[in-house]
């Protein structure tokens, strides 16, 4: 708060003095008052790391969501795009020979060469394939873009649902207390006590018999179910302290309904913390998705995701001789996690300068 005031004052003075001399206007009319959102944005952009993180994120998003539009190759279904489909048809070259055999008769012989299409399996890096091609002949660079689409979308969908669940249950626990609190918090305890990786492994094995894209939705569901306890804990803790404050008494006096009190008066007060935890959580969801992909337990293998691409590294041939197939995916995952961490840290400092870490 104090920092906020100072900012306004300093601008008052500099702008005011300048304008006073020119027009003789009232100081307060010329003062630029920053809204809380603007203050946060200003603090956020002051930190170099968060700006770098944001830039990396924008680049990754443009790369994955707009990149495929400019690529001549396709990776989603593993086929070459339609206008390249003439490439995929086999072509035949027929070579006819006539010769006279040992018995004096003339024979015709045909030598048929089948030219397999123009895609290269495990091709080298060259002008048209910036990162070579994989063992099915798909362009790795394009697959990386499509992979980013899936990985980033999963991250966003999961974090949104997870936060909603967490806010709802954590809010109920914090507001009502007593047995509601006991019940919800014990569930939270249980869920956060189960080791995450083994749980994910078991659940993915449960869903191994699903081979189509619907497995992705199941995966998102699982990630949400595992993720909400953290948010619920955060929300509950905040609400426990907020509900004792005066504005809640005022809300009670004005006879608001319970749901209004929770979702209009309590929850907006924890949105800064929620945004920070969501940003930081995005990185860990992308990591979990990639881990499952690496262990061959994530999205169906035909779908390009960063995790599915990096699981090639588990096979020593690919690991040793074709780093171009998996190195890119690994770098993308690392960059995404790092960028989300930078942005999350930046947001935390911007929202609450006293908590500066």
């Amino acid at each position: 708060m104090e920092e906020n005031k100072e900012e306004i004052n300093s601008e008052n003075v500099t702008q005011g003095n300048f304008n006073d001399n020119l027009h003789g206007e009232n100081l307060t009319e010329r003062a630029k008052v920053l809204s809380p959102g603007m203050t946060v944005a200003k603090r956020f952009f002051r930190s170099k790391l968060s700006v770098i993180g944001l830039a990396v994120l924008i680049i990754l998003f443009v790369f994955s969501f707009l990149g495929p539009l400019f690529s001549p190759w396709s990776a989603a279904e593993g086929t070459v795009k339609d206008y390249n489909s003439d490439l995929i048809k086999d072509t035949y070259t027929v070579f006819r020979v006539e010769y006279v055999g040992a018995d004096g008769e003339t024979y015709e012989a045909y030598d048929i060469t089948i030219d397999t299409p123009d895609y290269v399996i495990l091709g080298d890096i060259n002008g048209s394939h910036l990162m070579g091609t994989d063992s099915y002949g798909y362009d790795v660079f394009t697959r990386l873009m499509y992979g980013g689409r899936v990985s980033l979308t999963i991250g966003f969908v999961v974090i949104l649902i997870e936060t909603l669940l967490g806010v709802l249950l954590g809010g109920l626990a914090g507001y009502f207390g007593k047995w509601v609190d006991q019940l919800i918090m014990r569930i939270v305890d249980i869920l956060s006590c189960i080791p995450t990786l083994p749980l994910m492994l078991i659940l993915s094995v449960v869903f191994t018999n699903i081979f189509d894209v619907s497995k992705l939705y199941y995966m998102m569901g699982i990630l949400c179910l595992i993720g909400w306890p953290g948010t619920a804990r955060l929300v509950r803790g905040q609400i426990l302290s907020l509900r004792e404050q005066e504005f809640m008494l005022a809300a009670k006096c004005s006879g608001l309904s319970t749901s209004k009190k929770i979702f209009k008066h309590l929850v907006p007060n924890i949105i800064p913390q929620l945004i920070v935890s969501m940003t930081l959580g995005l990185g860990s969801i992308i990591l979990t998705e990639a881990t499952l992909g690496y262990l061959n337990l994530g999205a169906p293998l035909t779908t390009a995701t960063w995790g599915n691409m990096i699981n090639l590294a588990a096979q020593s041939t690919y690991r040793q001789y074709y780093p171009n197939l998996w190195l890119g995916a690994g770098i993308c995952i690392t960059l995404a996690i790092l960028a989300f961490n930078f942005v999350g840290d930046g947001l935390r400092d911007a929202f609450d300068p006293k908590m500066k870490r």
Binding site: R186, I190, L199, T208, N209, Y294, G330, T334
Partner: protein
């Protein structure tokens, strides 16, 4: 204090009970069954009937349902109705309470013996890596905090955040590719060269094999410890007693080593207590990548193949360590810092 501990332990028991229910039901819902997979070839060859299998499955605590398909061939599948799973769970729980963890389907040995025998390696790796983390991260964290926003602080923080962002499988495979396969400095996995070396030579051989996994584990978790130390040190540096120490004319070195350092250690103790599951539970992915026969890899295989007793025991072991870790962290906090009072 005693009342607090007893209450916490009772709550922990409740939590563990819930954990075991969820885990058992999920494990039974897996579409694979180790026992059935093992005996199916014999049935297909005609060396065994479904009734025989049913009797064997009963011994393992499963219920086999036999039915005929449209061609009239006998088929069987595990009865995964709620009642059957519940009976299985009850059986497991009763044995577990009496201290009988069951026999592994795969190894045919008592599960607790398997876990005990595989834990040594995992503990060794994690412990050495933890020591390295503490030695490197804590001094660096304090140094960063003392020069907050300086060049050293920026470079170290960014570097360590980058290291933390690496996924374990990516870092592990890169390290194997560069240091083991390309440069050939270290072996790419396993515990020994298989030459039957003993004594000091054997120990050296093992260390040589474990350097890369230890390196990966250290790199992966060093960042968070460093950042935690930095944050805490910053808090301590802003405290009044540090101002007093400076005001009474202590040298900067004395302020840092005698006052800041010691107070920084208080929250760190709690962090170290919560590394307990990691310390004993092994690193699943790192061990799998490096093909180390530790508890993490054994558990990973058990989970994938549906070796239910082993998977259950491992997960309960980790859950218990987590519960003990958090309890220990809270208690340690009160022990190290007398100002903290434990309450209900």
């Amino acid at each position: 204090m005693a009342k607090y501990i007893i209450k916490r332990i009772l709550l922990a028991l409740l939590v563990l009970f819930g954990v075991s229910i969820i885990l058992y039901f999920l494990l039974r819902m897996m579409p694979i069954n180790y026992v059935m997979e093992k005996f199916l070839p014999q049935i297909n060859q005609g060396n065994m009937t479904w009734e025989d299998l049913g009797r064997i499955m009963k011994l393992y605590g499963f219920d086999l349902v036999m039915f005929k398909d449209e061609n009239g061939t006998m088929l069987g599948e595990v009865n995964n109705s709620f009642g059957s799973i519940f009976t299985g769970y009850w059986q497991w729980l009763w044995n577990f309470i009496r201290g009988d963890m069951g026999q592994s389907f795969k190894y045919n040995e008592p599960v607790n013996e398997i876990i005990a025998s595989k834990m040594g390696v995992s503990f060794g790796i994690s412990f050495v890596s933890l020591i390295f983390q503490v030695i490197i991260a804590i001094p660096l964290g304090i140094k960063c905090a003392c020069n907050q926003y300086g060049k050293f602080d920026y470079i170290t923080t960014v570097l360590f955040m980058t290291l933390t962002a690496f996924p374990s499988f990516f870092l592990g495979n890169m390290v194997i590719k560069w240091f083991a396969e390309d440069l050939g400095w270290f072996p790419s996995g396993r515990l020994d060269s298989g030459l039957g070396l003993t004594g000091i030579a054997g120990f050296g051989d093992m260390i040589w094999h474990l350097i890369l996994p230890m390196f990966v584990l250290t790199i992966l978790s060093i960042g968070s410890l460093m950042r935690y130390t930095r944050t805490n040190t910053l808090e301590v540096l802003n405290a009044d007693y540090i101002r007093t120490a400076r005001a009474k004319g202590l040298s900067e070195g004395k302020v840092v080593y005698k006052h800041v350092f010691r107070n920084t250690l208080i929250p760190l103790v709690t962090v170290l207590a919560s590394t307990l599951p990691m310390l004993f539970g092994g690193a699943m992915i790192t061990e799998t990548i490096f093909n180390i026969d530790g508890i993490g890899k054994v558990a990973y295989d058990a989970l994938k193949e549906g070796d239910i007793p082993l998977a259950m025991c491992y997960n309960m072991f980790i859950a218990m360590l987590t519960v003990i870790g958090t309890l220990l962290a809270d208690l340690m906090y009160a022990v190290v810092d007398p100002r903290v009072k434990l309450s209900n």
